[in-house]
Symmetry: C2
Subunit: 333 residues, 2 copies
């Protein structure tokens, strides 16, 4: 790869002048500009953005840390962020944390050490204190789908508790009282909140929470299957199953059908997230809409505003989920 030095030599000008042509942030005579541009073309010159980053200590790129690269939820999230940022000419550097503390920290350090202008974090294992500490550093951090009071200006998050409440409430309104719940891993903040919402809905309706009708899954489809299997072994009858995400709801539904249960007549199921395929499973899955794409957009807008001084109207930090009614809940009683 040719360097700015070679260009300057070929064009017969100084380094500074070549730099001025590249960034055209300062007057350069047309004649000189032309000479330089011709030299750049001839050498196939491309600025080395590593060197630019070092000199500017800025990189025109923002880091994203997600738990996983696969899964409908993370796909939407990354796509949401990237679309807005790319439209503004910014690049995105993505890495993963796999929901384990060391890897999350390592990922964060990687992004910071790459001179990202800001980083967007979807972290689950790291503590609030760590994040607060981190926010005092040079690189601004933004939290997606996690709420830390002290960092609230930099948080974009969903009211997961409300979502959990709405899901269970929807099922109750169809007459169900015997309700099982397959939750997410209880070290993840959203999983905790969704469960809390479920319990609030039960309490509001004077239905006792029965720990035997609770199963903790890992948000994978296989956990839906395992969860339903496990719950059924207990021989406590239930007519509705609330799942903390759509993947687990799908897994449970598939397993229920293998058992020849009539759906939704014999078992009503509701999910959470409203990922695209929720409308393609049968019966079409009722669920809670998680506007993760919009939240991704919003995180990007926040950064565009704060970091790059591009004005973005309508900033919103806290999103409300809403119920999506489809065909997977039956009336009872």
């Amino acid at each position: 790869m040719s360097t700015i030095y070679e260009v300057s030599k070929l064009a017969g000008v100084s380094l500074a002048t070549v730099s001025r042509v590249i960034n055209n942030n300062s007057k350069v005579s047309d004649k000189t500009r032309q000479k330089v541009q011709e030299a750049m073309v001839e050498l196939g010159y491309r600025p080395n953005s590593i060197a630019q980053s070092l000199a500017l200590s800025t990189s025109n790129s923002v880091g994203i840390l997600v738990s996983e690269l696969s899964g409908a939820f993370f796909g939407q999230m990354m796509a949401g962020i990237e679309a807005k940022l790319r439209a503004a000419g910014k690049h995105v550097i993505i890495t993963t944390g796999h929901s384990v503390e060391d890897k999350e920290k390592e990922g964060i350090e990687f992004l910071i050490s790459r001179n990202c202008d800001a980083i967007i974090l979807h972290v689950e294992a790291v503590t609030d204190d760590y994040l607060i500490d981190l926010s005092k550093g040079k690189t601004p951090i933004y939290l997606l789908s996690r709420w830390v009071e002290e960092l609230s200006d930099n948080c974009i998050s969903l009211d997961n508790e409300l979502g959990g409440y709405l899901a269970t409430q929807a099922v109750i309104e169809h007459g169900h009282v015997n309700i099982a719940y397959i939750g997410g891993p209880q070290f993840k903040p959203d999983a905790i909140d969704r469960l809390a919402g479920h319990q609030r809905a039960l309490a509001t309706n004077k239905i006792p929470f029965n720990a035997a009708l609770y199963y903790e899954g890992d948000y994978q489809d296989t956990a839906g299957r395992e969860g339903l299997k496990n719950l059924l072994t207990k021989n406590i009858p239930f007519t509705a199953l609330v799942c903390a995400n759509d993947e687990m709801a799908s897994g449970a539904m598939t397993y229920a059908r293998e058992l020849a249960l009539a759906l939704p007549q014999q078992l009503s199921i509701i999910g959470f997230d409203n990922v695209i395929f929720a409308q393609h499973i049968y019966p079409k899955l009722s669920t809670i809409d998680n506007p993760i794409l919009a939240m991704g957009h919003m995180a990007a807008k926040l950064i565009l505003r704060d970091i790059y001084q591009i004005k973005c109207p309508l900033i919103k930090h806290f999103f409300k989920p809403k119920l999506i009614t489809r065909d997977s809940i039956a009336n009872i009683g």
Copy 2:
């Protein structure tokens, strides 16, 4: 952020010594090492990998360019690559091309200019010649899910033609002769190959290809719905529908059910890719397994071997798809 200079001052040693401690590639006495390490801890020092990159012109990271960040297929692909690379201590920088030429080129340039040690490309809009040209540059490139003969050592790809053939053949073996096809965008190599495979299967079985039973979709679920709607308006009877991916198959299936068609009795459907949710739609979708996760692993192994000299046995460049039989194809006649 503190620098190596501040560490050296605090520890009372030279820059070189600090660097030696960081990289421990040279003898440093235990006493000095300890002093330096204490200074690093006290200052919360983290090496700036941008500066390291510049000095070393290497970055311990590999770039990935995908068409989209969302979608089950890309999720699996990214996850496959990342898992293997991360296990070897390498980082991944992901960006997107959105299947449009300019954006693909821009993404590639971004990755190259970030000093990636190698880049993995899933590109669809850029020409073979461009790629061949690119491969002559300093940064090694690897192509995933695309075959360019001149670059075959750096390609990992699936026999899409065979996959298309297997899908249609599966349907024919169930007695179908009136077969519709919803393809992918015909500028994408895999979409072209899958269609070619479909046509070969028809030809092998002496079934003429009827252009009226072909619809070109965009690989999204909505295209499945639109495609089926469009095909039905033509009033040419068909009993089976082959889709070039699972998303479109799901969309078509959902629409078919809305029309109250009995599935699979009145319409057999087969997809392609075997994404996770294919087993959760109803009837469970028969499809063609696309081992994209394994292919991602393989791309990573190839790079580990070529670039980082980590020996990886069992390199394989060309993958064969296979038929996954589930419940979405009915016997006929």
